[in-house]
């Protein structure tokens, strides 16, 4: 990497930009937390919903989030290693 590029990298680091992998790991954790929160919220809503159509929609969303979280946890563990 050229000196200028290294310098630009340092400047961008000073301006608040972290190295890509560390940043992704942190973002992934944040994203997983957000998804977990969303899943809990949907599960709560699903529990009190009597409308079959709405219930089906919520269940579908929960199912998708669960799958995304499963994938995310796996990836997070890989990155941590």
């Amino acid at each position: 990497m050229s000196r200028l590029n290294r310098m630009l990298e340092k400047i961008s680091h000073l301006l608040g930009r972290k190295p890509p992998e560390r940043a992704t790991c942190k973002q992934l954790r944040k994203l997983l937390k957000r998804l977990k929160h969303r899943q809990r919220e949907l599960e709560k809503r699903c529990k009190y919903t009597h409308d079959a159509h709405e219930r089906k929609r919520l269940e579908r969303e929960i199912k998708v989030i669960r799958e995304q979280r499963r994938k995310g946890v796996h990836l997070y563990r890989e990155l941590r290693k």
Partner: protein, 602 residues
């Protein structure tokens, strides 16, 4: 006519001068070598930074003070305000920067460029600069011949610096030679009259050479050789500062209205600063003298005092203009208005954006989002729904049951008016960009082009199904009506989700929400197949209705998938790492199929 005559006149005058005086020949050669060095330096920085400068620009200009700092630092590092202003214009044209931030960068670049005078006055004229030029040229040219882009960029920078040093050396020698032959200082004009005349000369020289650096170096070397007076040199420095705006004006010719606004701000800033410097030339000279004593500049060293004056009047200009930046933005927005053509054309794709790959790709992305914005209205009306209905929070499954009102909507005509030219502009820009884009970014370009194609194909799909859709949504048979309404609701949901994702700023929708939509569509496809069989078996719909429904369902599902795929390409989270994380969690096709109960690996 005048423009055509200008070049031959300049060439004849130069030829006469070169024939007449060997000193003039040396100075002119010095200027030519210096300018060539500047070009080489710019070329080197373009290749050298490989998109990092653009990335930095995008991240570090969200506040006016940051933009100002960015302008100062980058121009100081690269010694080229032209390169910084051209990149700024291209980013502004691409809609990646606000006008206020762009103006901040230009203010900063004006201050950053004054460091050049300090370097030349402090080092260039004091040490034997040509001795450094030779090894730089040798190493620079060797690096230039390398395959690696970074090494080649480094070669350009090194050779550029070598040529610049060599140019300064020739200019210095030329003026030294002049001293023994004639004394140019006898043509000095005293007082304010002299400042005015030399300011005009400075503007003229900078416009001709398109480099304020060259004018300043010429001024400094002449001043060091005692060929011009200090007061006249100040006039030349002011002129160079005003004349340098020509680069921004030329850069703005290929830019959109935003670029033109920035160029106007650049001209305004430099002209106002120049007028202030001329009007208050005496107080400025006194201030320079005080400061020179304070920072222990050698007595009688007028070259360093000229550099100090250059920095000081630019600083004063920034202090004067900075508080009025917001007002300046409003005024420029009123002065240069955006005209809306009858046929929708590209908003962000301009020649200036093509200069920088990062800016060009970002401009293309924004343009494809613009294409989606246009297609959104056509698709909504094509489905016999209003845009507002889709954007609202109402239950779409119920809304589609309301009687349709847009029976005579012509999708084809609206496609011609709002999409055709825009799509052509996108394809044209993408093709031109492909020739200049580095190989590793080509994939991004193809994806964006495919996203645009997906949107256009979705419109065509809706156009194909519209005839039957209008017919069957008002049909007396409730079964066929319900089936077509389901297709309408499904497409409307896709449009609503994409609208929130791409066009609404604080919407509670993320890239990952599209996975839910994909699962829903897969489930719908499966359910629709089953329902269709039952309807035919129970003779609820005729065979004619069934074949129409089968064809139109195909169009509708294709359109939905194409739109979602385009949405996934177009979406970008604010933070690069966040975007990467979301994309990593996106579900694959077999995972979607499994969740929708259509096979796939468990």
């Amino acid at each position: 006519m005048l423009r055509r005559l200008l070049l031959p006149v300049i060439l004849v005058i130069l030829a006469y001068g070169l024939w007449l005086s060997p000193e003039f020949k040396e100075i002119s050669a010095g200027v030519a070598i210096f300018l060539f060095g500047m070009l080489s330096l710019e070329e080197g920085f373009k290749a050298f930074t490989g998109g990092r400068l653009e990335g930095l620009l995008r991240r570090s200009t969200d506040r006016l003070w940051k933009a100002l700092g960015f302008g100062v630092v980058t121009t100081t590092l690269m010694q080229s305000s032209s390169l910084v202003s051209v990149i700024t214009i291209s980013f502004l044209s691409a809609g990646l920067l606000g006008l206020a931030q762009g103006i901040g960068i230009i203010y900063g670049a004006n201050l950053g460029t004054t460091t050049g005078a300090w370097l030349v006055a402090g080092l260039g004229l004091k040490v034997k600069i040509a001795e450094y030029a030779m090894p730089m040229l040798v190493f620079g040219v060797i690096l230039l011949l390398q395959r690696s882009k970074t090494l080649r960029g480094g070669g350009y920078v090194l050779a550029g610096l070598g040529f610049i040093f060599l140019g300064i050396h020739y200019m210095k020698d030329g003026f030294e030679g002049f001293r023994s032959a004639i004394d140019l200082a006898q043509y000095a004009v005293p007082g304010i009259q002299g400042v005015l005349i030399y300011t005009l000369l400075g503007i003229l020289a900078t416009v001709v050479m398109q480099s304020s650096h060259a004018t300043l170096v010429l001024t400094l070397t002449a001043l060091a050789a005692g060929q011009i007076t200090y007061l006249n040199a100040l006039g030349l420095a002011i002129g160079a500062n005003v004349g340098t705006t020509i680069t921004a004006v030329l850069g703005a010719i290929g830019a959109n209205v935003e670029g033109r606004r920035l160029a106007a701000a650049h001209v305004l800033f430099n002209v106002v600063t120049g007028i202030v410097a001329i009007v208050f030339i005496q107080p400025f000279m006194v201030a320079v003298e005080h400061l020179a004593r304070w920072i222990h500049l050698p007595a009688g060293d007028y070259t360093l005092r000229l550099a100090l004056f250059h920095t000081l009047f630019n600083l004063v200009g920034i202090a004067l203009m900075l508080p009025f930046t917001e007002r300046l933005v409003c005024w420029l927005e009123r002065l240069f208005r955006v005209r809306r053509p009858a046929v929708v054309r590209a908003r962000y794709l301009h020649e200036a954006a093509l200069e920088v790959p990062d800016a060009a790709l970002a401009a293309l992305r924004k343009e494809v989002v613009h294409l989606f914005e246009q297609a959104f209205g056509i698709l909504a009306h094509g489905l016999n729904l209003h845009r507002e209905t889709i954007i609202s929070n109402f239950d779409l499954d119920r809304l589609v049951e309301a009687p349709p009102r847009l029976g005579d909507y012509d999708v084809e005509a609206h496609y011609d008016l709002r999409l055709k030219q825009l799509y052509s502009d996108i394809i044209d820009f993408a093709s031109r960009l492909r020739t200049t884009l580095p190989e590793k970014r080509a994939d991004e370009l193809y994806q964006l082009r495919n996203a645009a194609r997906g949107i256009v194909e979705a419109v065509k799909d809706v156009k194909h199904m519209r005839g039957n859709l209008v017919h069957y949504t008002s049909h007396e048979n409730p079964y066929i009506r319900a089936e077509y309404n389901r297709l309408r609701a499904m497409l409307a949901k896709v449009l609503r989700e994409l609208h929130r994702l791409l066009l609404e700023e604080d919407a509670d929708v993320t890239f990952l929400s599209l996975d839910r939509l994909k699962v829903e569509i897969r489930e719908m496809e499966k359910e629709q197949d089953e329902r269709l069989e039952q309807l035919i078996r129970a003779r609820r719909i005729t065979s004619l209705m069934a074949t129409s429904l089968m064809n139109d369902a195909g169009y509708a599902f294709d359109a939905a998938k194409a739109l979602i795929n385009s949405g996934q390409v177009l979406y970008r989270a604010e933070d690069e790492a966040e975007d990467e994380a979301e994309r990593a969690l996106q579900l694959e096709k077999d995972e979607i199929d499994r969740l929708a109960g259509r096979g796939g690996t468990p």
